[in-house]
Symmetry: C2
Subunit: 114 residues, 2 copies
């Protein structure tokens, strides 16, 4: 039986929801890697699990795979993260307002002191 | 049997992975709401499902619940999204570089034309 609350389509938000997949993206942000080299950086994750995480990242368009000689290398497609960037845009106003309020408070406090 | 690839701790990234939970946050960004009023905005989601989504958002610190009279109202805690904002910071360099490259290209092109 599937749990509809945790089941999400293979999109960018779902892809970065798992901490290991965020770690994989972090590794690939340093440069392209094979599954072998990527797996070497995860002592606690099996190579098949890394491959499954990569499949989810591929589906979401967050990585691409390129064949170089006999090897497949995975490449970060960071632009796909802009979907999250755009979604966050609406919420930035909330903490920006709070920063503005703090700035005004400090300015008033500074004004009183001089 | 649980699927370790989709199972994630109740954190901010996992909480916003589901499109309905992002929609709930969008609704709450307009103002505090009861489950009843929130459910009225989702024709395709049952009220128990909305409550379960809210429980996940509460766990992640993305919403808080306040009792007003006989009603519980849910309030957006947008600051919790700054965890995602900070994580994205590292990746912005990739699309900013591309924008810089485009800017330089256009500048060169404009320079040639004049």
């Amino acid at each position: 039986m599937t749990n509809n609350l945790s089941q999400t389509p293979a999109d960018v938000f779902a892809a970065v929801a798992h901490p290991k997949r965020r770690q994989i993206l972090d590794c690939l942000s340093e440069g392209d890697l094979t599954v072998k080299h990527l797996s070497a950086q995860f002592a606690d994750v099996s190579r098949p699990a890394i491959s499954q995480h990569l499949a989810i990242l591929l589906d979401a368009g967050l990585v691409t795979r390129h064949r170089t000689g006999r090897e497949n290398r995975y490449h970060l497609e960071a632009e796909a993260l802009q979907e999250i960037e755009h979604w966050l845009q609406h919420y930035r106003q909330f903490w920006n307002h709070k920063l503005d309020d703090l700035g005004q408070y400090l300015q008033r406090k500074h004004g009183d002191a001089t």
